[in-house]
């Protein structure tokens, strides 16, 4: 960007949408000029219309305006109209943040005007510390997409990317494409009428992949090293024979699938006994039968079969899988029809606890019932294998014990993800190995062998895992995102799923991978700030090498250089600012978001002396959920106290404790921090940011005591985007609480 050398500051106050009726706009202009020190201040009755926007554009073009504060609506509104790529822009939220939330009536005129004046002061203070982000454009970046895993998900992802015009490198461990799907006799139907099992089609898909000129397939290969960052992943692909190929890739789709749960871990359900097989075992028998009568291993034709659902799944004892694998009910239904389609006289019983057939599986279930498959709601307690198998179970409808005889018993055992190394285990092992533990050194080597990606990140060789060892992803809000930017998980490595879901998943992950390489080329961030051109920089001369930023970055974006200083890999960065919040010496900043841009806003607020009995409460609200919830409160005209001053932050993780101490030192009476839900079922858009903030704030009590303040003066809250009514209640209750405790004794010292 060729911004002029001398900055020129301008403020624009909009009087539309009722702002002019409720507020004294000329006074706001005066404040922007005198206190905000804006060189140019204008007001407009309809700032976001073509004429208002043109006025600002003209000032930028003809008057050399480089920095502007727009005092109008929330920064979440009219983003397109107020987009001026060459200028630094701050927004003072007078509409959603003031006139819509402060109670009606002239008795509130004074506090309403004070609130608006503070927001204008804050907007002016913020913009003066902002720079126009230039973007992190790199000279050359690869747009090739690496797909790890040649199963159904991997092949689908590779084809999706190749058909969209991208080069693909596909790495498959075994000697052929197809993965688990090649073991199947038939698959569950994907399309209407959902009545009969269908040909699998894995071979056709593999042929399509092999024939695609944009896809380079590496068979018998594993990834032995992944270095770099999105746009410049240097990947070493080692063949079984020992030869190593190198690929420069822009992004990665990890589709490493699953392993079936070991049936031998289920001796009580006959695991390991003759004529007790898992679902994969039955597929093998069905393949061998090739449409004829299905025979057992001993060659006897199967005349009766029992399918035991949830075998070693949904386990509450902690011995087996705690989760439901989602596909097994439909799979057993499919396998029961193998028998019924061949010979309707074969007795087939599916013993289930809760039959779960997602998608259109209900039609398939009905079709199997129509074919005469018997469904028994029961829980198997004991399976005896051998020549005549027996299933003892509790009938859950009739509430009594019973048993069935069968020639063959099939256990639905579920999926175990192939997600590589567990990073917690890795970190512990590496720490022990570094302190000289020989056993740990050997274990480290073993862990490296099971690693999928062998990332050279300081945080460990694979992506972090979620509950039960699945690759971390938020399976509702942003399903393919992992905590390793540019690396996307697809298929059963991410969560248990069936083939149709895996197909959709792979397509989604391929699109994310494409988005990633395109964003890198434009120097932009990835989800959830995909438009963002800013990136973090550190003033290394002030760095104390405490390593908090490298440890706390949720995305593994920061390595350490040879001198043990933080080394930012900007392409891995999601711009959450957790590093900035972590830094005790405040050397990390973004061009348009820093300790100063927020710190100056905090200091810009006019703190009335304590005899005025007007408390001032700072709200640091996450821009992803909490700030929209506050805006929504305004849109719904819910009113909250005019004593609060809200500042949006990129993530609660970016909150530096200096802001809290500065606020309390300068006489604020309380601080409310609002972030997303943390923990295993997190809603934090940066996964760990909110958690970090809560952790840091759990230690702030000492600081408060040193200042001689009550611990209630800092509150950390979880707020969801739907909490618009709750957030109003929280604010009003907190204001009452602060009034009860009394105003801060720090006023006037700041």
């Amino acid at each position: 960007m060729n911004a002029p050398a001398t900055p020129k500051y301008a403020a624009y106050v909009c009087s539309g949408c009722g702002i002019g009726d409720k507020l004294d706009v000329p006074t706001l202009e005066k404040i922007a000029q005198k206190e905000g020190k804006m060189a140019l201040v204008k007001s407009h009755p309809f700032l976001c219309n073509a004429e208002g926007v043109q006025m600002i554009r003209d000032d930028i073009a003809n008057d050399g305006v480089t920095h502007l504060c727009i005092a109008a609506c929330s920064r979440r509104a009219k983003a397109e109209a107020f987009s001026f790529p060459t200028a630094a822009v701050s927004r003072a939220n007078l509409r959603e943040g003031v006139i819509w939330v402060v109670a009606e009536g002239s008795e509130h005129d004074e506090v309403r005007q004070e609130m608006a004046e503070d927001y204008v002061r804050m907007g002016c203070a913020e913009v003066k510390k902002m720079k126009v982000p230039g973007g992190n454009v790199k000279e050359s970046s690869s747009k090739k997409i690496l797909v790890v895993g040649g199963g159904l998900s991997g092949m689908t992802a590779a084809l999706a990317a190749a058909e969209a015009g991208y080069e693909v490198a596909l790495v498959e461990k075994s000697g052929a494409l197809g993965g688990f799907a090649t073991n199947l006799w038939k698959r569950v139907p994907f399309a209407a009428p959902y009545a009969d099992a269908q040909p699998v089609g894995a071979a056709e898909l593999a042929a399509k992949v092999s024939a695609n000129p944009k896809i380079k397939v590496h068979l018998n290969s594993t990834v032995t090293e992944t270095a770099g960052a999105p746009g410049r992943f240097a990947v070493k692909i080692a063949q079984e024979s020992g030869s190593v190929a190198e690929e420069l890739c822009g992004s990665i789709v990890q589709a490493t699938g699953f392993t079936t749960y070991d049936i031998n871990k289920l001796p009580e359900l006959g695991g390991g006994q003759a004529n007790v097989v898992d679902q994969a075992g039955l597929e093998a028998l069905a393949k061998a039968a090739d449409g004829g009568p299905i025979k057992r291993a001993d060659g006897k034709e199967v005349k009766s079969v029992v399918f035991v659902q949830c075998a070693g799944q949904r386990d509450t004892t902690g011995q087996h899988l705690a989760y439901c694998s989602g596909h097994c009910c439909a799979t057993s239904i499919k396998q029961a029809t193998y028998f019924k389609d061949q010979n309707p006289d074969i007795d087939t019983v599916v013993m289930y606890q809760d039959l779960r057939v997602p998608g259109m599986g209900e039609d398939f279930y009905r079709s199997a019932q129509d074919k005469g498959v018997i469904f028994t709601k029961g829980k198997a307690s004991k399976v005896t294998g051998g020549d005549g198998c027996k299933v003892d179970f509790k009938d859950l409808i009739l509430n009594e014990g019973a048993s069935i005889d069968a020639d063959l018993v099939v256990l639905a055992t579920g999926q175990v993800p192939n997600a590589g190394v567990n990073l917690d285990e890795w970190t512990a092992t590496v720490t022990a190995a570094e302190s000289g533990d020989e056993a740990a050194k050997i274990k480290k080597g073993e862990l490296q062998k099971i690693s999928v990606l062998n990332l050279d990140y300081r945080q460990g060789p694979d992506m972090p895992q979620f509950k039960y060892g699945f690759a971390d992803s938020h399976f509702i809000c942003f399903p393919y995102e992992t905590r390793r930017t540019g690396i996307y998980a697809a298929g059963p490595t991410r969560r248990p799923m069936d083939m149709l879901q895996a197909t959709e998943d792979a397509t989604g992950a391929a699109l994310k991978a494409i988005q990633a390489v395109e964003n890198v080329e434009k120097g932009r961030a990835a989800h959830p700030r995909a438009w963002d051109l800013s990136f973090p920089t550190a003033r290394l001369e002030g760095c104390t090498q405490c390593k908090r930023c490298t440890v706390e970055c949720p995305f593994g974006a920061i390595d350490e250089d040879e001198k043990r200083f933080p080394k930012f890999n900007e392409e891995r960065c999601r711009r959450c600012g957790t590093c900035m919040g972590a830094c005790p010496v405040r050397v990390i900043s973004f061009e348009n978001y820093s300790c100063d841009t927020v710190g100056m806003q905090i200091k810009a607020v006019n703190i009335p002396d304590e005899f005025e009995e007007k408390p001032r409460i700072l709200i640091l609200a996450c821009e992803n959920d909490a700030y929209p919830a506050l805006d929504m409160a305004g849109i719904q005209r819910l009113s909250y106290s005019a004593f609060v001053r809200a500042i949006p932050v990129r993530c609660l993780g970016s909150v530096n404790t200096i802001w809290i101490t500065d606020a309390l030192n300068s006489g604020y009476d309380g601080v409310m921090m609002m972030g997303c839900k943390k923990g295993d079922d997190y809603q934090c858009h940066f996964v760990k940011g909110s958690e970090m903030a809560f952790y840091r704030m759990s230690k702030i009590d000492d600081t408060l005591k040193q200042l001689g303040l009550e611990t209630e003066r800092v509150q950390t809250l979880e707020v969801a985007i739907t909490d618009n009514a709750r957030v109003v209640k929280l604010i009003n209750e907190y204001v009452d609480q602060i009034k009860e405790i009394g105003l801060s004794p720090m006023k006037g010292f700041g």
Binding site: R366, Q369, D370, V373, I374, F375, D395, I397, L398, A402
Partner: protein
Amino acid sequence: MTTANQTAIAKYKNSFLKEVEANVEEGHWVRMCMQCGVCAGSCPLGNAWAHPPQELFMMIRAGKREEVLASDSMWMCTSCYNCIVRCPRKLPITHIMHGLANYAHRLGIAPKGQPTRETATLFWNNLIKKGRVNELTFSLALYFKDGFVQGIKNALNMQAVGLGLVKARRLNPMEILGGHGVKDQAGFKAMIEKARQIEDRKKGFAK
């Protein structure tokens, strides 16, 4: 005495479901139940059933022949059709209940003295005499089904109602002498006989 029952047992051995599918009206629907329990929750007489429909279906699949056929549950059905309307799997539950009751009755293993069964039997026997229900003899038969003394008591209890009906010309005392019937008595008898033959053949009772 229960040769029909013994024949059925021998024929279907341990597949009671197949027996139901073959012999019970709408019995082929039993396999389609998904055990949601909406029928049980919808039945206005639900509390009176030892086994609600969904449970009966499960028992049929589990081969509990005696328990199902000797049960008085399906006799509790009042044909309100709530279950049919609500069943997500569109099972004609009311019809299946009547089918099961009828099958158990024909086999001679339905519960003895079950009021619905007795009433239905009296009604049918009354009807097929002349092709018209003789309300007077039907009522009397009902009153006296539990013996002479109880019959007199029942009749005295209903005296006012009966006289009212007579006054309103809704009940003809002369019906006691045999009453009215359809015109073609011989044709009617032949039709009933033919229907029975067809049903026996379909439900495995043909001699």
